[in-house]
């Protein structure tokens, strides 16, 4: 297309109007999507969180009762220390070749990764802000470890109290 042709097109009023309209519609859609994502994100404080390795939940913590659950035998979770204000634990990879050190702040009801030996030097999980509401997630891709808010405990009818 020659330069003259482009200039001719630019001077065509009919085309400029539609040009503006299309850009406007795209801008509106982007704004709408931003508003939808922003307004519908759940910023309420989380009741707890789960630590997941790949598809398996390996640790669950409940802020309101200060209780946690983890599988006893697989050695993925090591409780390193706890007091009234904090709980420290280490999450090992399934083959025990790597770890993420996690610290729970019981007072502020938040959790963060404080150290990791992941192969990537960036250590994104360590620099991710503490998870304290239902819209956040902390992930460590090299270790396939994800800390996710416990948005709602599903009342699973397969759970039966015994005793």
């Amino acid at each position: 297309m020659s330069y003259n042709k482009i200039e001719q097109v630019r001077k065509t009023k009919y085309f400029r109007l539609w040009d503006i309209l299309i850009y406007g519609i795209i801008a509106l859609i982007i704004a709408a999507l931003f508003l939808v994502v922003f307004l519908t994100s759940d910023k309420s404080p989380t009741n707890g969180f789960t630590i997941r390795q790949a598809d398996k939940v390996v640790f669950t913590y409940y802020f309101d009762t200060d209780k946690y659950e983890y599988a006893l035998a697989d050695g993925i979770i090591s409780i390193d220390g706890q007091d009234d204000k904090s709980l420290k634990l280490t999450v090992y990879t399934a083959d025990k070749s790597g770890y993420n050190k996690v610290e729970v702040d019981k007072v502020n009801k938040s959790v963060k990764v404080v150290d990791a030996d992941c192969s990537l030097l960036k250590k994104d999980c360590v620099y991710t802000p503490a998870l304290k509401d239902n819209s956040s997630v902390i992930s460590c891709l090299p270790h396939e470890m994800y800390i996710e808010p416990l948005i709602k405990r599903v009342d699973n009818p397969s759970d039966i109290p015994l005793g």
Binding site: E69, Y70, L72, A73, P157, S158, I160, P161, L162, G163
Partner: protein, 405 residues
């Protein structure tokens, strides 16, 4: 007029409810059965409820009974729902017949009559009582007497044995504890026999005197009786063709079938924490009978000492072994019922020896306290998920055997 009629109806309903509650509050030594069953939903009610499970519930043998059954097609036809209805009728029949046979407090039961008989006398009992008593004798021998249904008077001495247990005004004297222990020891001499389709139980000759009154051996088969019911009902569920659901007797004795939609069709059972709200550990299970028992069901404290309804036959007093909860999964629910009591009385070391020697085919989960620290003991740690982080695993497993830390 309508308002007056409504008021009249309300008063009448209240009177019926109050009289019902009062009549159920019989805390005397003897009573008639206060069992009841709620009517199950009709097929149309079930369909309109949107529920996926049919449920029958009631109160029998002093505990709540719940049967929940799911059908592969959500009871798409009334015929399948009628099958559940028939099953529920059979279940009620089993529960009531066992209660009327082995209750220690219902005047017409043969165990009540046995308890009232003189020392050394032979009493005719029915087939159900014969079978349950025979099983109790077997478990008594297998556990070296740690399961002993003849500790009934010791249970009552410490204020337990009814739904309305209470701490005695004064704690039992050493003499009375020893006297009732002597009677319980006589369970080894109790005999059961069968002759021409009739069944008999013969009391030992032993008598003791407590506060001027002469006593002979008395039995309470209620605990093992619940498990016996669960075994029977488990078979009934199988025979009716249902695969999904469970039976719960007081949430402590269960026949678990399969969950109709969970991962692996397992149910997840959370075992009650004896020292805190909620559960202390959980595990997945299906197609199994099980029982759990602990020092949290009925207890009181005196001068910092916990007294519970489980009697140690070797002392005649409530257990002080530190074993707070025992759960056994697999095998017969009746045996599991008896064995949870026996393991509680044995204490940690002896219980572990028993588990290693005789219960390797079952999943056993215990919570024991040593110097205030809760330890979880189990022969299948890979099946256990801890709920209360205050407790830790107190053993390893080597070649299928529990090795205490």
């Amino acid at each position: 007029m309508n308002k007056r009629l409504t008021t009249l109806c309300a008063f009448s309903l209240s009177a019926v409810l109050i009289s019902g509650v009062l009549s159920s509050c019989n805390i005397g030594e003897t009573q008639k059965s206060d069992s009841y069953f709620m009517p199950i939903a009709s097929y149309s009610q079930y369909k309109s409820s949107g529920s996926t499970m049919a449920e029958g519930c009631g109160h029998v043998m002093g505990t709540d009974a719940v049967l929940r059954i799911a059908d592969e097609n959500n009871f798409a036809t009334e015929e399948r729902y009628n099958a559940f209805s028939n099953l529920w009728e059979e279940v009620k029949g089993v529960l009531l017949s066992v209660e009327n046979s082995v209750s220690a407090t219902i005047e017409t039961s043969c165990i009540y009559k046995f308890n009232q008989a003189k020392a050394g006398s032979t009493v005719e009992i029915d087939e159900t009582a014969y079978e349950i008593l025979s099983l109790a004798k077997t478990v008594y021998e297998e556990t070296d007497g740690y399961f002993n249904p003849a500790v009934y008077q010791s249970v009552r001495l410490f204020g337990f044995g009814t739904a309305y247990y209470k701490k005695p005004d004064t704690m039992p004297s050493y003499e009375s504890v020893q006297a009732y222990k002597t009677l319980a020891d006589g369970f080894a001499d109790l005999t059961v026999s069968k002759s021409q389709d009739k069944y008999y139980a013969t009391k030992p000759q032993t008598t003791v005197s407590v506060d001027g009154a002469v006593h002979s051996l008395m039995l309470d088969l209620g605990g093992i009786g619940k498990g016996w019911c669960a075994d029977k009902i488990n078979k009934l569920i199988d025979e009716s063709g249902f695969k999904y659901g469970y039976l719960s007797l007081g949430s402590s004795t269960m026949a678990i079938k399969r969950h109709n939609s969970s991962d692996g069709n397992n149910y997840t059972l959370s075992v009650r924490d004896p020292r805190a709200n909620g559960g202390y550990a959980k595990f997945a299970v299906k197609d199994s009978c099980l029982s759990t028992s602990g020092d949290y069901e009925q207890f009181y404290e005196v001068d910092g000492v916990r007294y519970c309804h489980i009697i140690d036959p070797t002392t005649g007093s409530p257990i002080q072994t530190g074993v707070a909860s025992v759960t056994i999964v697999g095998g017969s629910a009746a045996q599991d019922d008896a064995l949870t009591t026996a393991l509680s009385a044995m204490g940690t070391v002896q219980a572990v020896e028993y588990i290693n020697d005789r219960l390797s085919d079952r999943f056993v989960l215990m919570l024991v306290f040593e110097e205030g620290q809760g330890k979880i003991i189990t022969n299948r740690p890979d099946q256990v998920t801890i709920i209360n982080g205050a407790y830790s695993l107190g053993n390893t497993v080597a070649e299928g055997k529990i090795v205490l830390n």
